[in-house]
């Protein structure tokens, strides 16, 4: 009897647009090739970076013979959850002190978003989520597969290469009452364009008046802040003023919590601790009362158990070890500053290189945008040209990862941009 596969009619799935860039890059034999696709930090030598403090934490864990490999609870490592909540909401957050926050360990930002979305699809009354235009490529899929229907709100203005604040207010103002709204807490991916604090306040008031539920995606906490902290008053920054406090990146989130309302927040430690592969993240739901938070936590467990039973311990243990030790915490911020310094330096070098070449156009957004990426404003054709002629790989929306650049490769990129802009308009 013919036992053909029951899945014979299946077709090959399209490559993930972001990870597919790396696949294409790997296939390219050119010695000058440059990978500016995925947002993973690289050193000046183009190598992935393991933070020293992470290495030390890992060694401590390995050397601790008393540690055993038992299942974590469904909600994950308790220490990690508490410390993560403090990191984003503030150590003195009244919501935390009142036990109004349910925090569960999840698999990085993606996992936190998915678990949060599945919870909302089951228990929330309005199954529409508004996401910014543009946003991280994986957002629509995560929410759709969780059972939410996805709509967009205007965010980026290509003309100014800044925030389309009017459009944002209009679209959120017209949103169905009670709908969920995805907000990038800082260092918007892919544009690097963030609202100012004053703008955040207006967004908050509008959302609360319409009963819109905030769902924060915080993938870049601390990284963006440090970048911005270093630049101080030298570079006009989107948040409006300089700061010495590492709590700044979380400020938009804390504004929403401070008004006593409810919200969700997904955290990732992929970028800020370089723990991409270990899948470390947390989902927090801020509730009106401690009783509600407890019930919410119990329902989150029902989402997680049939998905993967309980989360992986390794990355969360590393994070907890670092966050709870003040010396290691300080060392972490110092290493982050070094990473941020390098990103800022790359931004400046690229900007200077384009100015030196007299490349037409206003390129100041390269040094204004926040975080790891620059949304160059190059169009699909220009991007394809740069890949074909200069072996430079980026996502087709023109987003480049500054962390993938080095002093050696900046001139090559500047040449490519110059050629693309002058030859293809």
């Amino acid at each position: 009897m013919d036992s053909g596969s029951v899945f014979a009619s299946l077709v090959q799935a399209p490559e993930d647009p972001i990870l597919g860039v790396t696949v294409a890059y790997n296939k390219d034999p050119s010695p000058n090739k440059l990978n500016l696709g995925v947002g993973a930090y690289r050193t000046e030598e183009g190598k992935p970076l393991v933070l020293d403090v992470v290495r030390r934490a890992e060694q401590l864990l390995v050397n601790d013979q008393s540690r055993v490999k038992e299942y974590l609870p469904i909600v994950g490592l308790a220490d990690f959850n508490k410390l993560s909540a403090k990191l984003i909401f503030g150590a003195d957050s009244p919501a935390i002190q009142a036990n109004r926050v349910a925090t569960v360990q999840c698999l990085s930002g993606t996992g936190s978003l998915r678990v949060g979305a599945e919870f909302l699809a089951r228990h929330y009354h309005q199954l529409t989520i508004y996401i910014p235009q543009p946003t991280w490529g994986n957002h629509p899929k995560v929410f759709t597969l969780a059972g939410l229907s996805v709509k967009t709100y205007r965010y980026y203005d290509p003309a100014t290469r800044g925030l389309n604040f009017q459009g944002l207010l209009e679209d959120l103002g017209a949103a169905t009452s009670g709908a969920i709204v995805l907000l990038h807490a800082c260092a918007h991916n892919p544009t690097g364009v963030d609202p100012t604090l004053e703008q955040w306040e207006q967004i908050r008031q509008l959302m609360r008046s319409k009963g819109l539920l905030p769902f924060f995606d915080s993938a870049y906490q601390v990284v963006a802040l440090v970048v911005w902290w270093i630049t101080g008053g030298q570079i006009e920054n989107m948040l409006g003023f300089a700061s010495g406090s590492l709590d700044a990146d979380a400020q938009p989130v804390r504004m929403f919590v401070a008004d006593g309302g409810e919200c969700l927040a997904a955290q990732s430690y992929a970028k800020n601790m370089g723990l991409y592969g270990e899948r470390v993240g947390a989902l927090s739901i801020v509730c009106k009362t401690a009783d509600v938070a407890s019930k919410v936590e119990s329902q989150l467990k029902l989402v997680i158990r049939p998905m993967y039973s309980n989360p992986p311990i390794h990355g969360a243990s590393i994070v907890a070890t670092i966050l709870k030790d003040s010396k290691m915490y300080d060392e972490w911020t110092v290493e982050l500053k070094a990473m941020a310094d390098r990103i800022i330096s790359m931004r400046k070098q690229l900007f200077d290189a384009l100015s030196a070449r007299g490349t037409p156009g206003d390129w100041s957004h390269i040094i204004k945008q926040i975080g790891m990426f620059t949304f160059t404003g190059l169009n699909g054709e220009q991007v394809a040209f740069m890949t074909k002629e200069y072996h430079i790989y980026m996502t087709s929306d023109g987003r480049i990862s500054m962390a993938g650049l080095s002093s050696k490769t900046v001139p090559h990129l500047a040449d490519a941009i110059h050629a693309a802009v002058t030859r293809m308009g």
Partner: protein, 430 residues
Amino acid sequence: MRRFFTSTARRRCSTKNIAWWDHVLPAPKDPIFCVTEAFHADSSPNKINLGVGAYRDDEGRPVVLQCVREAEARIAGSRFLESNSAAVSSKMVEESVKLVFGQDSDVVNEGRFAGVQALSGTGACRLFAEFQRRFHPESRIYLPDPTWSNHHNIWRDAQVPAKNYHYYHPDSKGLNFSALIDDIKNAPDGSFFLLHPCAHNPTGVDPTEDQWKEISYQCKVKNHFPFFDMAYQGFASGDLEKDAQAIRIFLEDGHLIGCAQSFAKNMGLYEHRVGCLSILCNDSKQGAAVRSQLQQIASAMYGSPPVHGVLLVSTILSNPDMKSLWIEEVKMMLYRIQKMRTTLQESLENLDSPLNWENITKQVGLFFFSGLTPNQVEQLAREFHIYMTRDGRISMSGVTTGNVNYLANAIHEVTRSSKEETKILCNIGA
């Protein structure tokens, strides 16, 4: 630098005072994990945890395998933490599937399968369930009665309806083989059947080799899709190859199976969430297509699995010395379990328990499906501080030389009266 705005003063504005979650009810507790919770809450020095299926040594302590410690030392700090380490992933997948399909398997050599790492057994099952729903949206899954409780949750959350097929015979405490075969025959052609290839959870009752051959044959006649959940390879016989026998039979018969593998128990990697999902295909091209679809599903759920566990498994399985050590350590774990089975049975027999306890040593794997009623289970917890799941499933790894006699006495106590009921019923029948 100016101080940052850190005021947490309550802001007044026209917010709708909506409490979003007031209608959320407390969720029922997970039937397996709540046993451990109850155990932890108990302060009795005699307490015994026979709930979750995690291996313990003879002092009741969790164990880190030596091969795992060596692998950890090898990889700590020397690798780069990169989620797209494709070479490591595919190595791990290849070594994993060889465990179930055979070291010299044609399927593996010719790449006629789709394999992805998954978040342990749960994650592998869930990935498959989502995949099944996407490409066979009208299908359902046939689950053995009984099965691991989370199987029902997994397929339900993937929105694939489930149906039970006969498996365990409560009277004989063995396999209800004829009813099982009937269910296979009566299911619509091309149905999806979930099978435990060895050490059935919770019953410990496995088909014989001949019975597996018959099951495979009947599935072939009906063109069913066999999905194996391999959570306990090594824990049935101590021999990894022997424990994969059912899968090999199906492969020989030409089935294109699916298989979920877990390294939680047999490598002791519980909290690292390491497993593998594989689906056999007609050729490597189709394998690539299926794999790409599985990765899409995973990427919208959690991105990629954590690299630490993947590295551990890959290191151990690729290194002949470490793999040999692992195989020995699996044998040692099973040896202790089997010893506890023998001891418990002997203790109960020595107490002159009139009930038949031969199933303790007949059943295989980590569990003894005791046949104790929910009332008896509750009595054991209340009076003797002994904890197990309500279905009477006892995790033998919680039994030690130190507590086996206490356990035997307790079981004897709670089953005395059931013996009297049986006697009365027999008299009535006579």
